[in-house]
């Protein structure tokens, strides 16, 4: 069954929109500024940027304000805006060892080269409400710091590679990068497409699916090689000189998870999963690394099914499908009612038991 359009008064729709906007502004407090959202809700801004697939902190903050804090709605606004723009070009590929890291912890190696740098985190403190939060003073003001040249941190997985403990990539993994914003995703999908879809995935969906395998619905229970937060350069080729040049940098979170690859019992090695997203979002990047690993490994559970994972994790897709159910479906539902009534009438008349009738899949 196809869709049937309905009409309603345009003026009433505008009023509903105006009422929505009033809800944002009717309180007695001053309107929150775009800069305040950008500076004070960095995690939220990062989430909207990575789910929207667009690194633009000010626009993400604006989208959050417009969406009244609804992250998926804000991501949708970013994607819609992005679709109106031309692409200058692809960047020069960068490696994570070019990252300026401000945080790096390795749950796998205690004495990791470069050290465990906790950075800005509350991971090791109690989760208690702070009723004195608005103090405004810099709690690091009296730190006695010795400034030094920033160092590049060696990747933890290099240690495993040197010992031959990392599985080498298979031939089909050595393909070109695939852009899911320009080409339809078809299965089996190349790993570059899967990583791109996971990087744009909705944080809750990525977390939930990653969690499912930890709870036994899958065979991946990794140890994290490392989790990093920092910034990566965005480089283009200069149009006059052809040199790679840095336009800007993007804040990212990164995670590598190490997974025993059980299929190779004769030559025990590790498999791994990789996660990288815009902004500070460690929960998502850990989940992403789990799903990258699970979709590379065989298994009967949902997390091992690449098509299932990629179809489920996109927030804008799922938001659209779920929320479209609240739009008028009068004709569809009337048709369903007619069928049910007809079945009941035939049954009451003592007719044959009818075959099961399914509601159309495109409803």
């Amino acid at each position: 069954m196809g869709y049937v359009a309905v009409e309603a008064g345009e003026e009433v729709i505008e009023r509903a929109e105006q009422l929505f906007e009033k809800r944002r502004t009717e309180g007695e407090s001053d309107p929150v500024s775009i800069d305040q959202i950008d500076e004070q809700f960095g995690r939220l801004v990062g989430q909207v940027m990575n789910e929207g697939g667009l690194y633009a902190p000010k626009l993400a903050a604006r989208a959050l304000k417009q969406a009244q804090g609804d992250t998926v709605e804000a991501s949708f606004l970013l994607r819609a805006y992005r679709s109106t723009l031309e692409r200058w070009d692809d960047s020069v590929p960068v490696s994570s060892d070019e990252m300026f890291a401000t945080r790096r912890v390795s749950p796998a190696y205690k004495d990791v080269p470069g050290g465990q740098i906790l950075g800005a985190t509350k991971d090791y403190t109690q989760r208690l409400l702070d009723f004195d939060l608005d103090g405004g003073d810099d709690p690091t003001a009296d730190w006695d710091l010795e400034e030094a040249e920033p160092e590049s941190l060696r990747n933890v997985l290099e240690i495993l590679r040197e010992e031959g403990l990392l599985a080498e990539p298979s031939a089909e993994d050595d393909g070109e990068d695939y852009d899911t914003t320009r080409e339809p995703l078809v299965y089996p999908a190349p790993r570059s497409a899967i990583l791109q879809e996971l990087a744009r995935g909705e944080t809750g969906a990525i977390t939930a699916l990653g969690y499912s395998t930890l709870r036994g619905y899958g065979s991946v229970h990794p140890t994290l090689g490392e989790v990093r937060v920092g910034s990566l350069p965005v480089q283009i080729e200069h149009p006059y000189t052809g040199d790679p040049v840095e336009v800007t940098s993007v804040e990212v979170s990164e995670c590598e998870s190490v997974v025993p690859e059980y299929e190779k019992r004769d030559d025990a090695q590790f498999s791994f999963g990789y996660g990288l997203v815009f902004g500070r979002n460690e929960r998502k990047v850990i989940g992403m690394s789990i799903l990258d690993a699970s979709t590379q490994l065989e298994g009967n559970e949902p997390v091992h099914d690449t098509e299932f994972v990629c179809q489920i994790v996109d927030g804008v897709d799922s938001f659209g499908f779920i929320e479209h159910l609240k739009l008028p479906h009068y004709v569809t539902f009337q048709s369903t009612l007619d069928r049910i009534r007809a079945i009941r009438e035939r049954t009451a008349d003592g007719g044959d038991s009818p075959a099961t009738t399914e509601v159309s899949g495109d409803d």
Binding site: K58, V94, G115, Q196
Partner: protein
């Protein structure tokens, strides 16, 4: 250290500048006698950030970064700049600064030293950030023997 007289280095120095600072520098060039032709009007565009994963070395598309690029011509020299975000005025100002230094405009030395100064400030901020991060470096100790 980047050389502001070198085109590629200068691009990075301009891109790292604050928008208001770039506009102030461009105003030094716009002295009423120097003619600037806009070759490419500033417009927001996208750069797809490509990343190589650290183990399989697969390249994938992380997402796009919003940038604004512009190109001008001044005294027979082209200037090009690209800056982060939606920043039309900064992009044009950056292109003017680029062309002015390339054309050896009378203010070129002042522009070049201002760009260098901006880079030094940025490096100082990074050193401060790194120092703050390393102040949280920790040695985790296993506690098996104490259990």
């Amino acid at each position: 250290m980047e050389d502001p007289r070198h085109r590629s280095d200068r691009f990075e120095l301009i891109a790292a500048c604050e928008g208001t600072a770039l506009v102030e520098l461009a105003e030094l060039v716009l002295d009423g006698e120097t003619t600037v032709e806009i070759r490419q009007a500033p417009k927001p565009q996208l750069v797809m950030q490509r990343v190589r994963d650290p183990v399989h070395a697969d390249v994938f598309n992380l997402g796009e970064a919003l940038v604004t690029g512009a190109e001008v011509e001044l005294a027979g020299e082209r200037g090009f700049a690209m800056v982060a975000g939606r920043a039309e005025a900064s992009a044009v100002a950056g292109a003017i600064v680029d062309a002015a230094i390339e054309a050896d405009h009378p203010e070129a030395d002042r522009l070049a030293s201002a760009l260098t100064e901006t880079r030094l400030e940025r490096e100082q901020r990074r050193k401060r950030q790194w120092a703050e991060s390393t102040a949280t470096a920790v040695d985790f100790e296993s506690m098996e023997g104490e259990l």
